[in-house]
């Protein structure tokens, strides 16, 4: 079982990793909201906002190549959306950027802003997930008032995604080993359905065994976690820094750049 590729950096240790998950979650949520509500007229101010999550990623010792590869992987939908802007909005504008001055269209500016916002908010989200263990995040979310049922569900889900994906890989390898050519739509569909069906039945069996094991250990429908959440001094300092970062950008930098 390889559990590694999604949050492999969440188990490192750094000042950012040690912060309380609730504080990080709320800061990232507010940061995302602020970035999204920025007007679409000033692309340059987004660069200033990028400094925040960038610092978090660097302090959390997350390799930047991993981060950008991940952003690239999830970007197709936004890319299509952004690239459709120049097609529809051709209002010509002249853009002055330092010593450079060139003619462009409003659509291209919008495309640029959409992509920039996407990258900045993704930096923040990756900064949260890759510096927080999922268990800590769940405990934090529970303290923030998410229903217990949903928390248990998320915990189970996270625990077994990789087990079942491994199993799916076994089935896929078996199909690849036996099916050497295209069999036509009907046969392909039938095979896929049989694979999914047997995976489902297999999962039902696993669920029964897990339930028996949980019963044997005295499960009482409560989610317990070893992670002790406590808002300490470093959390307060972090929130203060984050708040002042956002406020300075909002009141001092933004009026300058717009």
């Amino acid at each position: 079982m390889h559990h590694a590729y999604i949050d492999k950096f969440a188990y490192q240790d750094s000042p950012v990793h040690r912060l309380d998950s609730r504080v990080k979650f709320i800061v990232v949520l507010i940061f995302t909201a602020v970035v999204i509500s920025l007007p679409r007229t000033s692309p340059s101010v987004l660069a200033c906002y990028a400094v925040g999550p960038f610092t978090i990623l660097v302090l959390g010792k997350i390799p930047l190549r991993f981060v950008f590869k991940h952003i690239l992987m999830v970007s197709p939908f936004v890319l299509v959306l952004a690239l459709s802007c120049p097609l529809y909005d051709r209002t010509p504008v002249s853009v002055a950027f330092g010593p450079f001055l060139w003619k462009s269209s409003l659509g291209w500016m919008r495309c640029f802003v959409i992509l920039a916002k996407f990258i900045v908010t993704m930096l923040a989200l990756i900064g949260l997930v890759s510096t927080t263990r999922f268990n800590d995040l769940l405990t934090g979310l529970q303290r923030l008032g998410l229903p217990r049922l949903l928390i248990i569900q998320l915990g189970f889900l996270y625990r077994y995604i990789f087990v079942l994906i491994d199993r799916a890989h076994h089935i896929l390898r078996a199909r690849a080993g036996r099916k050497l050519r295209n069999l036509g739509t009907k046969a392909e569909l039938k095979i896929a359905a049989a694979m999914l069906g047997s995976l489902l039945i297999c999962s039902l069996g696993t669920a029964e065994r897990i339930n028996i094991a949980m019963q044997a250990r005295g499960f009482d429908k409560n989610w317990r976690s070893l992670s002790k959440l406590q808002i300490g001094r470093s959390d307060l300092i972090f929130s203060l820094i984050a708040a002042s970062f956002l406020l300075v950008l909002h009141f001092l930098v933004r009026p300058l750049l717009q």
Binding site: L29, A33, G98, Q153, T185, L199, A207
Partner: protein, 343 residues
């Protein structure tokens, strides 16, 4: 189908988040009594099954080189019932957002509504509408197929509506809607076919799984289904007409109630007064309450003098930020290089 943050404005994001959170809370409270520990394990595993099922791809007919995979929302709703199915698919959407970064954090509310609540409830009620009076394998298959296609269409229609209500669309609304509906008609058909095929397989191997020996039975009368359909039509119709009249926040408005139509049923019914409070709160305190739909033009466009100065300040901003980031990175790099030699 996963919406990104950039497709939403803050009021719409907050409104949909509130609706999704309230509905999930309501569902969780409602099913707390019937969920025993074996169902908890089952729900968790079936959620993970959705991820694994997406690995199993198959060649699509008529389009060489492409392959499809299953989404599984309707299948889970049929197996688990709509309430538990909605919880499972919502958890899948949350994990996709948090762990896989698929869909933005602010768009989570929209994504839960579009991809979890709509397919579970609409798909299940359509399936039940077909199989409830006389159940036979053929009816079940047609019901499942229709449930997939129609619920996918409705969820796909929600995406452009939510984006248009946010006022961020550059692409004409009708173009976006047609593209979304067209693409998702295809996806829905494929999903329907594979769901039917899986149901057929289960019918042969483990018929007890589908027949309803599993928890989460909900009685749905024909009338309820009809009303649901009418409500969805009205919601979509209202959304479309609101767009024409350029009214903001029409989505929330059509969700809640319509004083001009006394028999209008809320699309997401919950009597929680918190929603109203949250709506009120967010309209008062959202960072940009009068977020304009039309951008009047870039700051750099209008006058020559302003243009030049704005050009320089924005240049300074970008360069300054880049230098700051480079400085932070370099400092961290140097510090890290030093550490192993110390140790």
């Amino acid at each position: 189908m996963h919406m990104a943050n950039e497709l939403l404005s803050i009021p719409v994001a907050a409104g949909t988040m509130a609706v999704a959170a309230a509905s999930l809370g309501f569902i969780c409270r409602k099913v707390r009594q019937i969920v025993t520990s074996d169902k908890l394990a089952l729900m968790g595993i079936l959620g993970a099954f959705v991820f694994a099922a997406q690995m199993v791809n198959f060649r699509l007919p008529a389009m060489p080189g492409t392959s499809g995979h299953m989404v599984g929302a309707v299948l889970l709703a049929i197996i688990l019932g709509p309430h538990l199915g909605a919880i499972v698919i919502s958890s899948v959407v949350i994990i996709q957002c948090l762990i896989f970064q698929d869909g933005g954090l602010l768009a989570l509310g929209c994504n839960i509504i579009n991809m979890a609540l709509v397919p579970s409830y609409l798909g299940y009620s359509l399936y039940k509408a077909f199989t409830a009076p006389v159940s036979g394998p053929l009816r079940a298959y047609i019901g499942a197929l229709l449930a997939c296609v129609i619920s996918f269409q409705v969820s796909a229609a929600f995406v452009p509506i939510e984006a248009a209500l946010s006022g961020v669309l550059v692409v004409p609304f009708s173009t976006f809607l047609i593209i979304m509906l067209g693409v998702h008609l295809l996806i829905g058909l494929i999903e329907g076919l594979i769901t039917v095929a899986v149901l057929g397989y289960l019918q042969q191997v483990r018929p007890d799984v589908i027949v309803g020996s599993l928890p989460g039975k909900v009685r749905l009368t024909k009338k309820a289904v009809l009303i649901t359909l009418v409500v969805f039509t009205v919601v979509i119709g209202a959304g479309l007409s609101l767009l024409a009249s350029d009214l903001p926040d029409g989505l929330e408005w059509s969700y809640a109630e319509r004083p001009d139509q006394p028999d209008f049923e809320p699309a997401v019914s919950n009597e929680d007064s918190t929603i109203a409070a949250v709506d009120d709160f967010q309209s008062k305190y959202s960072p940009l309450p009068d977020y304009s739909i039309r951008v009047s033009g870039l700051g750099e466009t209008t006058e020559e003098e302003i243009e030049a100065s704005a050009g320089w300040t924005s240049f300074a901003g970008v360069v300054g930020s880049a230098v700051t980031m480079a400085f932070i990175w370099l400092t961290a790099w140097i510090l890290r290089k030093k550490q192993p030699t110390k140790a």
